[in-house]
Homo-oligomer: 633 residues x 3
């Protein structure tokens, strides 16, 4: 399949007279797709029940007739002001109990069933009107779930919903009390309606109480999304998509993804660098105008899996944004590099956000492909270059990787609730493993926690999985490659308690976590191979083979031929060594890449990306800063 480019566009922001010119210019830039509509509810329905589709009809027609395929967004992330009059209690409530007011976006509570019905209604109306429109080739539902911390709401609706959810899950408060260990501090409940949301308690609420609320809240996102999916399915065969964000773990993307056709995400490499990725200011300085070289790759691999193989980038940063603490401009060439990195990871389509920089409102300092005065912004030419390159490039496919990494959202909730060490974070741990794999030049597939077949892989990593699912355990038992689990893997029950006997509980593995330590930033546990653990160290016991020890003789890696447990959190250098050793054992080729160079193999090509601000060597060639090189495999 040929890759395609697109752009996000807001016809409601511009005079109708400008639409045709814009459309023609998009086509001239080599764009195939245009996303519209996702914030336009006040223009679709300016007052309750008054539908004004005419402008949208014309916008779709103008864009479609120019040769563009439309992604039509449901506008449910921005309910109009009148909706609040109709449903005053639909506003979300923060953890301090303050109502989060109208005046920006995402001002709705996922638990509010009245608003959910309003979303069903607008989805139905849009489906009826545009479901068979020949120009509408895909749909986006809502926009960026959880943006601005909106998964969790501490409203009365959430409380009622949570109590009902608990009643269904546990059937009796006795069962709930036992499951949560409420005997601990006389926290037992007599009736479900005594159970409050887990905020504003004197000290931390019981961990399974918190986990239940995280599960409930995630379920509401899934249900909220499904209402619109179900409506739209009645009226359209076009692909249904949501645009996920980077580094959000508050809801289970695997479950939302199951109801959709394509997973897309919004990729802001520079916007994320300063405060959403680990690293010292000095380390980040090296990638100031490029973004972290592994952040996009991780999310491409993650969401390709969430999309069951189908991946888009729905929003691609084209220039400085407005919302990061600091907003430098990309290095020339990065808007091209990012697109090719996405394509090399299997993205079908990359849409730049946005066509023209809006001169007004909250995002007025967010660059687009055009400036507010309609002149070309720097990224426009880079988009044109990508389009030209796509045109001459055969389909590159998406290679099956040798290596897989398991990623689990429930574990992220568990470790948020129970970090035990202040810097323990599920995403951070998984990303540390991913980065080590990618520094070794490997292709990586990310798999869900209920993966049932690992047969295509030579190496599988599963760090930090709270409790391994029965399906994954079966897959691990059958696995002929080498699986490295841990730290902290399968060390909890489904209710975030410690299993007795102690975990992990895997047939054939006689390795147990006897004692757990978290370590402050300066502390380290030295390893015999000259590496070290930071942050986290588990004391292992059992009869399995010890593959690596600490300098004082404790097991650091332990297990058997196909399944081993990693007892700590290696720092980057140590992780590199561990990955290199395992790959050598599994006969997987690794690379020693200059700092900033990354590679990604597709079915047909090897792509080499230079994220450094200086030229770097690759074999006998030199790749300039922001350069993309490809060669046949």
């Amino acid at each position: 399949m040929k890759r395609t480019l697109g752009v996000c566009y807001y016809p409601e922001h511009w005079p109708e007279t400008q639409w045709a010119d814009d459309a023609a210019r998009m086509v001239a830039t080599g764009l195939s797709w245009v996303r519209i509509g996702e914030f336009a509810w006040s223009r679709m329905e300016p007052s309750p029940g008054t539908l004004t589709w005419d402008w949208l009809d014309r916008a779709i027609a103008v864009l479609g007739e120019a040769g563009l395929k439309v992604v039509l967004g449901t506008p449910t992330a921005t309910p109009p002001r009148w909706m609040i009059d109709k449903h005053p209690d639909m506003l979300p409530v923060d953890a301090n109990g303050h109502v989060r007011k109208f005046g920006s976006r995402r001002h709705y509570d996922f638990s509010h069933l009245g608003y959910r019905e309003e979303c069903r209604r607008i989805a139905r109306l849009m489906g009826e009107r545009y479901g068979r429109n020949p120009h509408v080739a895909a749909w986006q539902i809502d926009n960026e779930y959880d943006c601005h911390d909106t998964t969790l709401s501490y409203s009365d609706d959430a409380k009622r919903g949570f109590q009902d959810w608990l009643a269904q899950r546990y059937q009796s408060t006795d069962a709930l009390n036992r499951a949560w260990g409420n005997v601990f501090w006389s926290m037992d409940y007599d009736t479900f309606d005594q159970i409050e949301l887990p905020n504003l308690t004197v000290t931390e609420p019981n961990h399974p109480h918190q986990l239940a609320f995280r599960r409930y809240s995630s379920d509401q996102v899934v249900a909220f999304n499904k209402v619109q999916v179900d409506e739209l399915r009645k009226h359209t065969d076009a692909a249904l998509i949501h645009n996920y964000m980077g580094r959000i773990t508050t809801f289970d993307h695997w479950k939302v993804g199951n109801d959709l056709d394509i997973a897309s995400w919004d990729s802001y490499p520079i916007g994320f660098l300063s405060d959403r990725i680990e690293g010292t200011p000095k380390e980040k300085q090296a990638f100031l105008r490029q973004g972290h070289p592994d952040n996009q790759a991780f999310h491409h691999d993650l969401y390709r899996a969430v999309g069951k193989g189908r991946l888009w980038v729905m929003e691609q940063q084209p220039g400085p944004v407005n919302w990061a603490p600091y907003n430098p401009a990309p290095l020339p060439g990065m808007a091209r590099l990012w697109a090719w990195e996405a394509f090399a990871h299997g993205a079908e389509t990359v849409c730049y956000f946005r066509w023209r920089q809006a001169p007004f409102a909250q995002e007025q300092m967010h660059a687009g492909l055009l400036r507010p005065d309609s002149e070309a912004a720097p990224a426009l030419a880079e988009a044109r270059q990508v389009a030209d390159e796509i045109a001459t490039m055969p389909p590159v496919g998406t290679a099956q990787a040798d290596v897989a990494l398991i990623f689990d959202y429930e574990s992220a909730w568990a470790w948020d609730i129970q970090p035990q060490g202040a810097d323990f974070d599920m995403f951070r741990l998984a990303f540390a493993a991913y980065r080590a794999l990618r520094r070794a030049g490997l292709n990586i597939d990310i798999l869900p926690p209920d993966a049932s077949d690992l047969s295509g892989y030579k190496l599988v990593l599963a760090p930090g999985i709270m409790k391994l699912s029965d399906r994954l355990k079966a897959a691990l038992r059958a696995f002929q490659g080498l699986a490295l689990i841990g730290p902290r893997t399968d060390t909890k029950t489904d209710e975030l308690s410690i299993p007795v006997p102690l975990g992990p509980d895997l047939p054939g593995l006689d390795t147990k976590v006897a004692l757990t330590e978290s370590l402050p930033p300066l502390a380290k546990v030295k390893l015999q191979d000259k590496g070290q653990f930071r942050h986290w160290f588990e004391h292992l016991e059992g009869e399995d083979t010890v593959y690596l020890t600490t300098t004082d003789g404790r097991p650091a890696i332990m297990g058997g031929k196909n399944l081993r447990y990693l007892a700590g959190w290696p720092d980057d250098k140590s992780f590199d060594q561990i990955i290199t050793d395992l790959c050598k054992e599994q006969d997987i080729e690794t690379h020693v890449l200059p700092k900033g160079l990354r590679i990604r193999d597709t079915d047909t090509h090897r792509f080499v990306f230079n994220y450094a601000a200086k030229s770097l060597p690759w074999k006998d060639i030199t790749i300039p800063p922001a350069g993309v090189h490809w060669e046949s495999r």
Copy 2:
């Protein structure tokens, strides 16, 4: 005009038997003025309608008859407890929606019209009683507007007032929706009473929404002040004064100043050093007991302009204060130096705060000229020395400066709302420019954003002015000297949107800001003159002459003979170089001063101040630490 000294005094704190001694000792110290009354409402009116003026009559008599002129304060910053019973909703509300309770001071909401009427009443009563009192030679209205963040209140009164203000400004919600770009996220309003205050929204509220609230809130301060001005004018011809604070930008001081006769401010050089002035702990260590050498000068110049030429220091730090994170004692001599710095900048009067350290309540650790036990504190002798020096010194006048700096409060609000880079702050930017000018040994005038005549100046700087006023544009067009505007100047509309065509919009300037970058602390943009920009960099385009470029060839300063645009935020060293170059071009003499030495010229003298903790050379003399030197011009 001869300079004079004064002091702040609270007769209600001390036994009446002590008043005459205190007064005699003030006179013996060489003080001419005494400020009283501004916190004494509970003593003037202990219960509603019960006026007890007798003690105040006697206090004024005792002080006046001793030879002191009285500044009488209206006590509206400290409404008594019974006022809260009368107007329970007059208490301000913080951004979290919590009522800010009685128990300290400034517990009133500027939007509360009932309290405003109470203030009118007490001003009328005081005017009637003391307006013609021969000893009352000036009035202070309220005390330190905005102290403790009181300009903004999120009360129901503020909401109603804001909605009314919006209705008057925009006339229709359609107009408001268009002006604010509310289409952006379906944020349109149908009626004015739907518009909430811009707090507690899910993510940041629309920028013009926030700006409108900042304008509204500033207007309430202006209106609150004017109510008392209007009352007092009926009864007195004495000068009306408010005592502004340092580094407060939440209300438009230019507008308040227009209604008053003299601008005064409260100068706490050491109190401000540790957390209200930029600089590393190490840099601040050098001025630990002296305060930043440019902070006082900036505010003197600013408030001299706000006072339309008439400036006082109403409160001058005499020793350690109680409210800074750390409170060291001044270097011996600083209480004298600060006074002379004020006089050299045109201050008519400097009042030390306070006469005797109060041994009780919140400020008990705040030093005065006397200790709590009535012994002399170190500053008393320094005040006496200043008084002696004034006596023998002819009037020094206030020299017109060669250089002017434009300062605008609306821009401060705009960049608070839309910093784009986390460390972008209007005051900080203006102060960076000011410091560079002062390090070059220059006199500086600060001008309002509607200045209409620049003809007296050779060099004008206007950094960070959101939108240049028509009057200032006309003045710039007529200007024969050299004006350096930018960064970020005239890049927005009046509604905090981006103008199309892009700004700046100045006749004769073919320079536009095409793209904006903010930069994290470690990043820099290197300049061809070996300088560098930090924090902020704008990509300029146009046909104007480029006077300075970055090392990669982008314009850094661009424009024409008389008007140029500065594309970034120079660090101190680079700013020094730029100022030196511009001054050389404009034939303005600059100095290379040892670190800590500052000069200020009056009509008759050049003053040299040593803020360093060690002796420094000036020409062929040596100035000791905290030393003040003057020489005829």
Copy 3:
């Protein structure tokens, strides 16, 4: 008296079938005591008035018959959920006015009289049932007062109680207004019911207002405790104990201690290291797995005094805990060392917390003597070793110290309210003095602020005592040794104002604090003996002898033969020098100990503890890491 060991146990957490095995194993480990019951209210009274003592009867019987003595806890720190239905307003309220909800523990307001009666009732019921039970040899009342910041509550009950307390203390608002200096900002009150709790004010409330609320709140803790004491005394002669926490100063432990028989505390050396003790991360790295070598000693000495000579450690950390920012495991041997350190300081009993790690709820990651799977955790063998050592060791007694340190809770409140320098903290100051004394190898007694007899001591330190009590003043007057008071000692009135004449006010001392400076972290005041003051420096005046000066000639230590005033806060090195000099003068032997080595003398032995992670020399022997050495005196 022989020292004994014990453990904390929760029969309600485990199947009844396991109790006998657990008891036998405790006995086999050499434990004598078992604490039970303190969180089990929901099991004692599952619904209002339904008492289910049978399980507790059996648990006590099983444990007692195995040979263990029981400490029975009243369960008032964990009221069951039904209690909230009965007393909905018993929940505490935080400083923002948010109700602190059910769902963890300590969800009660000390001011709520209804809940206080419930506690009286359950204490009575337990006393009636178990007061004469032969196995119940001691009682614990409630658990860890103030844990999770629960001393202060801003509820309506607290407000009413506070107003009543004020009326009783001051009798008239006139008296209160005068005492507080409410004239300062017109803060006068007309009636007691106008007086709000001192939270959410516009700026800081008046300091005596805050101090009154701190005194009131402390009094409620004392009263709350006394209600249970009074009930239990009717039914039992067993010792009554509370388990205090480390470094808590929000209530007056001296007063609570007066009503009890034994003071116990909960000692978590590693848990406290990272964020509850001063020091750089690097300094703390040295004691990562040992805890700070002076923290436990300080609290042993403090609570031995609070317990009027009778001290227990009720909870002793045995392994990693769950609640510190980072939770490393102790160095092997530390669970033994900590117990011996306690015994050497006079502890009668040390109870490890807890017997078996609970696999569920908030503390599931908190280690015990057993793992969740009932295997021995590392500390079990160390407890066994201590028990063996006790068995062969004669009673060691508790030596009278040569040196005493005065510690005062009211002063801690005063300096919380009025730190004047951001890093001034009473505990920190007292602990700095204590650490210097202990580094010199001294035994230290800690004394209450109303100590009336110092005759047993050669050296007494009293830093930071807001106001010296009349009794202590008399004791100082009679003292034949050397007392060093200051900084900040006796510089305030009882109402947290400055006395006139200035303090300190001690017969025979002609030294006054004329002026006070607080200093930011980088600043220092250099002393003639090459030492330096940090944080704090007072300018002294008077006719007394100056024993030490600053390099610029100001007094640093001043006074007479027996009583001197220290003008600043010495850093560690300077404190060492000062202590060494004073001890030499007083003929007290001091030691120069290797970093990490500490000594403690009992009546019969000298104990030497190695807190370092490496071996250290003591005389001609080598003490291994975590090693304990004792030798006869």
